[in-house]
Symmetry: C2
Subunit: 321 residues, 2 copies
Amino acid sequence: MPAKAATELSAIALLERLLGSQLARAVETGIGDDAAVIRLGKRRVVWTIDASVEGVHFDRRWLSLEDVGWRSFQAAASDLAAMGARPIAALAGLVLPKGSTEKEITALGRGQADAARSLACPLIGGNISRGGELGVTTTLLGEVVRPILRSGARAGHELWLVGDVGLAHAGLELLRRGAAQRLSAAERVCVEAWRRPRALIAEGVRLRGRARAALDVSDGLSGDAARLASASSVRLILEERPLRSVLGPALQKAAKKLGEDPLELALLGGEDYALLAAGPKNSRPRGARRVGRIERGRGVFLEPAAGGRSVPLGPGFDHLV
Amino acid sequence: MPAKAATELSAIALLERLLGSQLARAVETGIGDDAAVIRLGKRRVVWTIDASVEGVHFDRRWLSLEDVGWRSFQAAASDLAAMGARPIAALAGLVLPKGSTEKEITALGRGQADAARSLACPLIGGNISRGGELGVTTTLLGEVVRPILRSGARAGHELWLVGDVGLAHAGLELLRRGAAQRLSAAERVCVEAWRRPRALIAEGVRLRGRARAALDVSDGLSGDAARLASASSVRLILEERPLRSVLGPALQKAAKKLGEDPLELALLGGEDYALLAAGPKNSRPRGARRVGRIERGRGVFLEPAAGGRSVPLGPGFDHLV
């Protein structure tokens, strides 16, 4: 029998089984949410780790090393935003290919430092080692009194989107198709969304006490919606009409140029770092836009604007396959 | 002018300069010690991140994936041991090459889980991503009332060694020279020291209130001694006579087989995860063995057993060059 290649889901399941017995008293939430939650005395701390690897998470054809430093930091911080946490501090593990120059390290570090400053989250240390491919692994600690988990969505809740989806993927596609030299203003918005994402920390804090569940949308709305539905054991209905209405003019224009449906870009495109949340209608905060609802059941469905039967959406991006 | 290749020292200096202004009030110790120290309410937390990358930190010819998981975890935990901290919990970022099998992931995870259990430090979550080479980055949080820093060594202190040095390097050399099939008992001790190191958590805790400075010896005694001397702005004298006397029979025998001086293996060989500490003579704890002394001045010197002038020791292993 050939060895079975792991998918991200199977790998996580295997590791959960191996480690499940270790979840100690101090640990409130372990594997399976955006970040782990631990109790230290009277305080709750949320804690995340996130890797950015060259050739997988970024491509230096279209990103400076400053961009790489910035993005890796924001991507990690986004996990805290999804829990409604404020960052306390960060550490970074750099893996540098042989012959990396001081100029390159300075650019990378400057991007990280700028991101850290933008989030008021000091980068206080880390580790440097050599490797065949450039990699940045960032770990952040954050604080929150009551973290927003993925598992709290209930039938009857509204589904909220905070921030934009689809822009980053459109931006990357424009670059891939060689449009970098002659970008319109709308297209530049997309490229910047991809190149310089922002973790929505303040927006996540505004969800506190209002959203009952949240996660960050880093792998496309469809796939991350499926994660929320699964963690909460509910059915999640994305409603085409309100969803299309929150897709802004920049995405519309870029999609037209790309010959794609903006809705597809939103559903399948990744690296947005928007927040998807669920909560009672009367507690929706400023900045959160209703894009669907939660029902009893399982899975993620798209309810067509034209009416008719809802369409089941497939699973999202798998980080291993 | 050609771009200047970075050394580990120059890279750290560059990043310190970029990030120095970010060290916030909550942060007591940032870049430059074994782990960062932050204050959370009344508690102090120490926090470290450490990477293990295939082809740099490990070679699968001589290590099973269980060994890789074990070692990466212990190596990261060793940073906490050096500060006298007890681990609270850990997260791991796995970078897995395409086509990694479920069997491989299970082996890696089992090694991590075993190490976590051995240190009473639950591995509570993390992140999986794809990459060209296998990598494990581990971050640990630990607690300690008063962390032992690298910077507290003073003239007049004794220099203490806790744990063994040289064994791991001897073990690796034996494997490199193809001796794996016919190892003597002494040689097996060396190979096991390399394959299955242990972070000296309990020993580090015993240094609390006794050692004034400590670090873990992961890059060879000579280089790590230089780091301690530099952080404390002192001169560190390794005394050949007591140092040789703490090198056990396993190292003596393996060195003989390898045709090497056991002292050289101890000074230059890495991956031991012993602890090097400094403190007043009357506070030396059980298990700490005197191997030298601290004086005014700079640098690291070896005082020959035969008498005569002390010999300056060169800088240690650089992780980038």
